[in-house]
């Protein structure tokens, strides 16, 4: 028995070591561009990662099916970091040793912990819908790319939509219900700055993460009789917020969230009951968009899809496609600038900075990345849940960018001053 157990342990150890080897072998192949998609599948961002990652991988498969870019295949290493820093850093270092040029951690804490590393290592990091909002300032964070409207911009868009709808926000009341984490508190400076400018009344309600119990919050929101409610959370916090709002009889068409709201959330809340709720779209959702159609034809139909077919075209899937399309446009540009490489972080960096008026066949608003603006213009639109899908109710627009950029500059300059 003693010996058996020891043998078993030894066997397990050998198997584990064996698994470490092949990754080193793969290093030898050339004509590849390596991305590291280490994301949180298990802990905090479970609600988004699976679909987001599926979109990313399907789009990469699509491009690879079409022969890659510049004769190179895209190799995406997908792994789980579970929001745990040692694991994230290990997979980062491992992938870097293999020549990885881009990492997308899709996690605010991990992105923050990697900032100093990627800046030093000259590896491009995508922080779409996560990470530091001030990373939009490309002059301070040359290797960090949000590539999407950050939370400050999203809040700016929302407030502007409220203003458009009501004509004037003077004397109106906005309730901000948010998860009590840095992510949840992030829009506060913008809300306060815009309050001073537009003259609305602001009331904030923090709830403890992850927000599975908000029963004491919403009676207060109801009593505050708000004109608009913005709820800012993720995963279970979002569905609970909506359910409690419904239970408290708050009008759905006066409620809005950030980009973090999806069909599956609506399934949990109840598709009919949630009718009317608003969210922000950074890209076209659903299956109509051309890239999604192409994926359905070339990747999903032959059975090469990375996940269940019914997830194709969902909200977070679309985000994954959108971000990957932008990244690969960067790769394309990089080949235009330097066709012979060598493929490296700075090489891709130049490409990403050259993205100009890219729309991904109409899937996203025209996006231009410059050395100063890594956000890509800050355009988005508002859409409304109609019981079956999110339908856009505005055009692409951007708003309040002056306030947002003042805030960005404030934090990025502080980082530049003390962080280095």
């Amino acid at each position: 028995m003693q010996i058996d157990r020891r043998n078993m342990l030894a066997g397990m150890g050998a198997a584990a070591l064996a698994s470490q080897v092949p990754v080193r072998v793969a290093f030898g192949q050339d004509k590849t561009i390596r991305f590291l998609l280490t994301q949180d599948f298990t802990r905090v961002y479970t609600f988004v990662t699976a679909e987001y990652s599926q979109g990313q991988r399907d789009y990469i498969s699509l491009i690879n099916e079409r022969g890659g870019i510049g004769g190179h295949k895209i190799v995406a290493e997908v792994s789980d970091h579970g929001n745990d820093l040692p694991r994230a850093i290990e997979s980062y270092e491992r992938a870097k040793a293999q020549g990885m040029v881009l990492v997308d951690p899709l996690s605010t804490p991990v992105a923050r912990a990697l900032v100093t590393r990627v800046l030093a290592d000259k590896v491009n990091m995508i922080t779409a819908f996560s990470g530091r909002s001030d990373a939009a300032d490309g002059s301070v964070f040359p290797y960090i790319f949000p590539l999407s409207p950050n939370y400050w911009t999203q809040m700016g868009l929302l407030i502007d939509y409220f203003r458009q709808t009501d004509g004037n926000l003077k004397g109106k009341k906005i309730c901000f219900v948010h998860i009590d984490t840095p992510f949840g508190k992030e829009p506060l400076p913008i809300l306060e700055a815009l309050r001073d400018k537009l003259g609305y009344e602001l009331q904030t309600f923090p709830y403890t993460p992850p927000g599975n119990d908000q029963s004491a919050i919403w009676p207060q929101v109801r009593r505050a009789r708000p004109d608009w409610v913005v709820f800012w959370g993720a995963g279970v916090g979002q569905t609970v917020a909506l359910t409690e709002a419904i239970r408290n009889g708050i009008r759905m068409d006066r409620m809005s969230s950030s980009v973090w709201l999806s069909e599956s959330d609506m399934d949990v809340v109840g598709r009919e009951q949630a009718k009317g709720v608003l969210k922000i779209d950074p890209c076209v959702l659903g299956r109509e968009a051309k890239p999604i159609q192409a994926i359905l034809d070339t990747v999903v139909k032959p059975g090469k899809g990375a996940g269940p077919e019914n997830k194709v075209g969902t909200v977070y899937y679309s985000y994954g496609v959108m971000i990957t399309a932008l990244i690969l446009e960067g790769v394309r540009k990089a080949f235009e600038i330097a066709p012979n490489g060598p493929i490296s972080g700075p090489w891709l960096n130049a490409g990403l900075h050259a993205i100009k008026d890219f729309t991904a066949d109409g899937m996203i608003p025209a996006t231009t990345i410059t050395t100063a603006d890594h956000q890509g213009g800050g355009k988005g639109r508002i859409s409304r849940w109609d019981g079956g899908k999110f339908t856009p109710i505005t055009d692409w627009y951007s708003a309040n960018q002056d306030v947002v950029w003042a805030e960005v500059k404030k934090y990025s300059s502080e980082f530049a001053k003390t962080g280095k």
């Binding site: 699976a50 599975n212 119990d213 004491a216 009676p219 109801r222 279970v236």
Partner: protein, 295 residues
């Protein structure tokens, strides 16, 4: 001060507290027989909710059938867990057994979302969502029903402890060796207490799953349940009722009064502060028995 709001929060707190109390009930049941705190109780509630969901949605059985089936399955699961894992820890330091339950908690948190999918699942047990007004007071139907069911369950377990089985379990909780000597099957009693704990966790999981959706975050009920169990006294079932209401109201009111002052979500801290204060001021809780150590 908005008294109406306070009243609303207070009522809400009572019912939510009872719902927490149902999770705490399992901790007390297990402590009463085997003298250890089950840190997997939150995960058991999560497992129960997943079980009810799995029977009702993928298998397509009606919910009124799914819940009893889940209860039976979870009772067996609890008893088997005790048989296969906890029983082997007899004679080990208590911290080892506690860590074992923590290990089970982590494992369950991996197993269920791993096999059933990590996304939040809807568990509809037919509670209407339309608001219910009593005068100007809004009552939350989900918590109202959940709290009432929990209250009934806790009362039921009190009755159980006066039955024949209850007498056996009380004897075991009093003195394991002595019960063993008079022919009580101590192991069986402990296994039953685990089964009952898992079953009550299932009811709690279903109720909570119906109000918030089913996902891993149900396992976070643990900390509130611990606060209630410790405040009430780890071996007292009436303590669960009273402490449940206290913790629920304290949390609810803290959210209304403290949050604006601190500018943060104080809800979770309330449970922690209650645990700490109880242990420092009255370690055996409001109704717990004090053990005298013999030298």
């Amino acid at each position: 001060m908005d008294w109406l709001l306070l009243a609303e929060l207070g009522i809400n707190g009572i019912f939510v507290g009872l719902m927490y109390g149902l999770v705490a009930l399992g901790i007390v049941l297990i402590y009463k027989t085997s003298g250890l705190a089950n840190l997997a109780q939150g995960a058991l509630a999560m497992t129960g909710a997943y079980a009810a969901w799995a029977i009702s949605v993928p298998l397509g059985l009606p919910i009124w059938l799914a819940i009893p089936l889940a209860l039976v399955a979870m009772f067996c699961f609890g008893a088997i867990t005790e048989r296969l894992a906890l029983r082997r820890m007899i004679g080990q330091p208590v911290i080892m057994a506690i860590m074992l339950t923590l290990g089970i908690e982590i494992m369950l948190r991996g197993l269920l979302p791993g096999f059933a999918g990590a996304a939040v699942k809807r568990l509809d047990i037919g509670i209407p969502v339309t608001p219910l007004f009593v005068g100007d007071l809004l009552l939350n139907r989900a918590t109202l029903i959940g709290g009432t069911v929990s209250f009934a369950m806790i009362l039921l377990s009190l009755l159980l402890f006066n039955s024949r089985l209850g007498v056996v379990m009380r004897a075991v909780s009093d003195d394991q060796t002595a019960s063993w000597a008079v022919g009580i099957r101590v192991e069986r009693a402990i296994a039953i207490s685990w089964g009952l704990a898992a079953a009550s966790a299932t009811v709690a999981g279903v109720i909570w799953g119906a109000t918030q959706g089913v996902d891993w975050s149900l396992s976070l009920l643990l900390i509130k349940a611990l606060a209630i169990a410790i405040l009430g006294g780890l071996d007292s079932i009436p303590g669960v009722l009273i402490a449940g209401v206290i913790v629920g109201v304290a949390e609810s009111v803290a959210t209304g009064i403290l949050d604006p002052l601190v500018g943060g979500g104080t809800r979770d801290i309330v449970a922690s502060v209650i645990i700490l204060l109880t242990l420092l001021l009255k370690p055996h809780g409001l109704f717990g028995r004090e053990h005298i150590e013999r030298i």
